[in-house]
């Protein structure tokens, strides 16, 4: 048995080594992908357009898109990027060369296998010191109107600049980023492909943002078993999950009032009254909107693929869905420090959920899992930095 493992791992090593060398000699990113990723149709202007069964419910005479019930149209989507921009965005997303010391990529904190979050309470950047807040999932960001837990950015492009230049996240500077990318021949070539109308000029920052946004906007998750149920297939959910759906949308639990279908967020900020693990209070959106009544307000996160994105909340307070749900039934403001006066959201009350009801809600949320459009991680990135199979943050355990 031991021998077998030895031989097998030797063979694997050989294959991966050969692959690595092969890709070194003839990088697969020499030509960017000319087709759209799953979920998108290529139009005749070389733009990728979202296609979804939810578009059947678009109706200018009907109710509002974006928030509602089962058969509700999606909110406005960021689409219309070219396949080349999306593919280049994918390389940039996974390339640690974007960080100051070449150790952290976007994917370090937004890992495809962890619901595009990182499994940590709060993320870590190049300094290896835990950050203030957790990495939000990127699934369905194409539909979001604001970004970051405190809603301080209003576009993906604006959001992307945040972690890039934050000293404790990716830590680079605009100058360094441009210098780095323009210094890599592969990138110069790829940006020319992604922006063919441009002459032979250096890579610009807005092109970097555009491509990363283009890639992130293709992370669509709308094919869960819940969606099959929503489109009319009654058997898509089992008995427990349907029970969970009914508790979820009941006015006892009230989950759906903020985690509203079809995205399972109403895209508002809300004060739910969470304590911070280290007793320093995070004022959240109060700073963004310069409004003290929003103290402790955070963006309502989408619950799609939430079963993959533990731990939960902006500070990673809860490791299990059940614990997160139980927070809402332990009393209005039960965690608020006596020194803080918060304007807790009116839907936070004391629903007295039973244990089995909490479990059913968790069952239902797990039925929102759909990763069928999960993109492929590039085998190599244009900078030539070797991608670690286990990204940096994996070495840090939860506890």
């Amino acid at each position: 048995m031991k021998q077998f493992i030895f031989i097998a791992s030797f063979l694997l090593l050989l294959i991966s080594g050969w692959r690595y060398m092969a890709s070194d000699h003839q990088p697969q990113f020499a030509t960017l992908c000319s087709t759209c990723p799953p979920g998108f149709e290529l139009d005749d202007k070389n733009r990728c357009r979202l296609r979804s069964l939810y578009q059947m419910y678009e109706n200018k005479d009907g109710n509002n898109p974006g928030v509602g019930g089962l058969k509700t149209a999606l909110p406005a989507v960021r689409d219309g990027f070219t396949p080349q921009q999306i593919d280049l965005g994918r390389y940039l997303f996974f390339d640690p060369v974007l960080s100051a010391d070449g150790t952290v990529s976007c994917a370090s904190c937004h890992q495809p296998d962890k619901g595009f979050s990182d499994g940590l309470r709060t993320s870590v950047g190049i300094t290896h010191i835990p950050l203030k807040r957790a990495a939000p999932s990127l699934w369905n960001v194409a539909f979001l109107k604001n970004f970051f837990w405190d809603a301080r950015a209003t576009s993906l492009e604006e959001q992307i600049a945040g972690p890039l230049y934050a000293a404790d996240e990716m830590g680079t500077t605009r100058d360094q980023l441009l210098k780095t990318l323009n210094g890599i021949e592969a990138y110069r070539d790829l940006f020319r492909q992604a922006f063919p109308q441009k002459a032979n000029t250096p890579i610009e920052l807005n092109e970097v943002y555009t491509c990363i946004a283009a890639f992130e906007a293709t992370l669509i998750s709308l094919n869960s078993r819940y969606d099959q149920y929503a489109h009319g297939y009654a058997n898509a959910l089992n008995k427990n999950e349907i029970e969970g759906l009914n508790i979820f949308r009941s006015f006892v639990a009230r989950c759906t009032e903020c985690h509203t279908p079809p995205l399972f967020t109403n895209q508002q900020v809300a004060v739910i009254g969470l304590a911070e693990p280290d007793h320093t209070f995070d004022e959240g959106a109060a700073k963004t909107f310069n409004d003290p009544t929003l103290k402790g307000a955070f963006k309502v996160p989408s619950l799609r693929n939430a079963a993959r994105t533990a731990p939960y909340t902006h500070s990673g307070r809860f490791e299990k869905l059940e614990d997160m749900i139980a927070f809402y039934t332990q009393g209005r403001g039960h965690e608020v420090p006596p020194t803080e006066k918060l304007r807790i959201h009116w839907h936070i009350w004391e629903p007295h959920l039973r244990h089995d009801e909490i479990d059913r809600i968790a069952d239902f949320i797990s039925a929102l899992t759909d990763e069928s459009f999960k993109p492929q991680i590039p085998e190599a990135v244009p900078s030539g930095i070797k991608l670690k199979k286990e990204p940096l943050t994996h070495s840090l355990s939860l506890k």
């Binding site: 149709e41 069964l53 949308r249 004060v271 009116w346």
Partner: protein, 497 residues
Amino acid sequence: MKIALRLFVLLITLAGGVYLGKVFFGRSTSIPAPMPNYFKASSSSADSSAMGAGVVTGRTFNIKPGQSIQEAVGKAKPGDLIRIFPGVYHETVYVDKDNISIQGVIDGGEWPVLDGEKKLNDAVLYSGNGVLVENLKITNYKGNGIMGQAGNNYIIRNNWIVGSGVYGIFPQFGKNGLVERNILTGIEDAAIYIGMCDNVDVRFNEVYGNVAGIEIENSRHALVEFNYAHNNTGGILAFLTPGLPIKTCADVIIRNNYVYNNNTKNFGAVGSTVSHIPKGTGVLVMAADDVTIENNIIFGNTNSGITITDYAFAGINHANDPDSDPYPDRLTLLDNFMDNNGTDPIDEVKVLKKATFAKPGLDIIAAGGGNGNCIVNPDRYITIGLSKYASCPPHDTHLVTSYMLDKPVRPRATTDLEKGKMTYYGVCSGCHSYNTRLIGPPVSVIQAMYKGNAKGIYDFITKPTHKRDDYPEMPPQNYLSEETRKAVADFILTVQK
């Protein structure tokens, strides 16, 4: 001793009076049932998805005590009618399909009763369009009596909801609805709560003994007419609540209602918006715009007949919403009959009253900001804060007989081509691309195999068999409707890139 005797006699007299009062006027023992209202079955078999509520073109299910209503809903198809016979049912009924009618049968004064026994959350939940719910008695649920989420073209009528949870009737995100002839009491938030809806008529309802009688919240084009709102904490409300995804509450007509003695102590849940309503509130407008209040009888509400407020004065204590305008603008206060209001106002109002040296009582108070508001004949009323109100031009709303749409909201007409496209790119493309291998074989290969044979593709995706060892077996796609599977099978044969 004499004094004690006198006191005793007085007590006896009082107790007797209360008892007699209950016998003659009381509601606790015999609450009047609403009048039944039957609808006719239509003989036309129109496209069911575009039908209004209550058009029955299909089967009828008769449900008797001991049978499950939900089981019938599960079997029902659009256009079917589910009739519920008198008896007691302990269920949460959820309707996630279009054009289902649920009708209680009231026979010899006996009602079908949905009893949540204080264990179940909601009595009826619906998300389908064209849903009708009528003639049900609903009691002892913890959440809602009847709640809709994004169902358009709804009718909720003639239900009798007693002591049942947070909201009695709560259509949310629905367009084109009718809520009429319901009787609701003992609800700890709003008895009838129109939340983030459009085009709704709320009429001929009786709401009493609730925290809020009728609440129109973040909705557009609502007509609230001929309702009897009495003995609530607040009678009829039009709110723009901050922090919701819909940011306006506008074009609300509150007309011909009887808003009487809404002086019940507030028993709303701590932190809820309505928990801030002072008892004795007749009509309350908070931050809503373009509200017309016309020809109501507003009588005996001890705080104020009509209260118009911004967020600050309302003291709702919610976090602010930068996208939500906190002020009530362009209100039109037409002639209303108001008397005996404001006899025992809350302290904040008393302070304002003192400052104005007004005579006792209070019909209308406007506090906080707001622009473009007007009133007819303000001298008829005892008022505070109307100095900025203009005199309304000659105006009434009689031309508005309904805010419901002339025709039901039609679903988007999706062609087969579009449907095929949405399904192919929205679902299939996760595993199939045109000419590269993903999880499943390339579409170009499939096209070669099924040239001119869309039926073959349809059959395969409905019930796949493992055809090729070099690919994993495809999961069945039978969750897509037959029509959708046909459309996508056709579309797959036309894909060119």
